[in-house]
Amino acid sequence: MDKHEAQSIIESLLFAAGDEGLNTSQLSNVLMIGEEAITEWMGELKNNYISDASRGIQIVELAGTFQLATKRDHANYIKRLVESPSNSSLSQAALETLAIIAYRQPITRIHIEDIRGVKTDRPLQTLASKGLIKEKGRAEGAGRAILYGTTDEFLDYFGLKDLSELPPLPEDVKDLEGDEETDLFFKSLHNTLTNE
């Protein structure tokens, strides 16, 4: 594997890993290259991103993991993007957060973030300010985290009489954290049992 190729693969891996980032040992495993070599390369790569003026992203190291992030210089443009008169529609982030809450309520922010794999403060704020979700109590346990649920306004807005009118989720996505193989088996077993 030449350097260009390795660089290219690392970029795609970091991109796909998103907020969770990748540590040296993960990169070493996937690329099948020793950890020391990885550490050296990553140092070099980090510099490449910074010095290349045509790159808008950079590699940052956080808590032992490498992540891609936008360059700070471009903050103004991102701000402008956020502020630009949006097309009176909810963002993808807000919509998927809303869907998770609708189907899994009551649910904590941490749990939503587990499912989405990204921070979800802003979508929650947006949805709450639009009156589509609200606090529905507190979770048991140490943090007593806020539990979110949908509101009557939510039902109203989407023209639903009650939550049971939400379209059923496709069979294959019902169990978000499930192990697929057992799921399939479990499903046919379950069918067999309930058919009798």
């Binding site: 795609s12 991109f15 796909a16 890993a17 998103g18 969770e20 990748l22 936008t70 903050a75 991102i78 993007l81 956020v82 502020e83 097309n87 009176s88 529609s89 909810l90 963002s91 993808q92 982030a93 919509l95 998927e96 809303l98 869907a99 998770i100 609708a102 499912i115 989405r116 794999g117 990204v118 921070k119 979800t120 403060d121 802003r122 979508p123 704020q125 947006t126 300010s129 639009k130 009156g131 589509l132 306004e153 807005y157 989407f158 023209g159 639903l160 939400l166 379209p167 996505v173 978000l176 499930g178 057992t182 799921d183 088996f185 479990f186 077993l189 379950h190 067999t192 049992l193 009798e196």
Partner: protein
């Protein structure tokens, strides 16, 4: 089990049109000149076979069978006596198969299109996108109502589907499987004990007392293993009746247990 296996395979047909296309291809006949006797015979053979296998033959298949028979008999009728308007005759004479052929050709187009969609689905699946960043730090103003909002339930479902398509990073193995597993051996012993306590016989579904995935899977594997070792006998008197599990050693074991 046999029943289950076949009912899965009959799903390979997407309906009577699909079955007919398969027959036409198998017989290597021209779709524009279908030999009705042959195709009807073949079609009826499969319908009968499905019956023999006790498959649930959907009504659409039976309707098509009737259609095929009707076309076949219309083709056997002697041609109309020449009527007074000779000129018109050739033009208006309809082939009884026309409508069926049109339907088959129309359906085939979409069946092919579905194949192309499947290819695109696979191609798209090898390209990975990422979640939008949380840009809350850049946000200044908010609109505090749903007024002017223009999203539908479908948008929400679409966004959710998109989320589910996103590839998730593998969690470290250590956090993955921590639950305590019960062994198949242990479960086999439990099942035999259970049978003895119940005069050697239990309903199949009663062998799954814990509604927890891993437990059900282990129980099922235990039942299979016991069947293999001839320690139990599983029977069903007719379709949809209870499946009974019997200990082969029978009640005689009760005293010893």
């Amino acid at each position: 089990m046999i029943h289950m296996e076949y009912s899965v395979k009959v799903d390979a047909f997407e309906g009577p049109l699909d079955l007919l296309l398969h027959l036409i291809q198998g017989l290597e006949i021209d779709i524009y000149d279908i030999p009705m006797a042959d195709i009807t015979e073949q079609y009826m053979l499969y319908i009968r076979a499905m019956n023999v296998l006790e498959l649930n033959v959907a009504s659409e298949y039976l309707v098509m069978a009737a259609t095929l028979l009707a076309i076949k008999s219309r083709m056997l009728l002697p041609k109309h006596e020449e009527e007074w308007n000779d000129d018109e005759l050739d033009l208006t004479e309809e082939d009884p198969r026309d409508e069926l052929v049109l339907r088959l050709i129309e359906y085939r187009k979409y069946k092919m299109a579905a194949v192309e969609l499947k290819e695109k689905e696979e191609l798209r699946g090898s390209v990975f996108t990422k979640a939008p960043l949380d840009l809350s730090e850049y946000e200044t103003q908010k609109i505090d109502s749903t007024e002017g909002l223009d999203v539908s339930l479908y948008d929400m479902l679409g966004a959710f589907h998109k989320l589910l398509r996103r590839k998730k990073l593998q969690k470290p193995l250590s956090t993955r499987v921590t639950r305590q597993e019960i062994s198949i051996d242990k479960r086999m012993k439990e099942i035999m004990m259970d049978l003895r306590k119940n005069l050697g016989q239990r309903k199949f579904q009663d062998l799954f007392p814990v509604a927890e995935k891993s437990h059900m899977v282990v129980s099922f594997l235990a039942v299979l293993e016991l069947m293999k070792r001839n320690e139990i006998y599983v029977q069903q008197s007719k379709n949809f009746s209870d499946i009974l599990v019997e200990a082969i050693e029978g009640v005689t074991m009760v005293g010893q247990a």
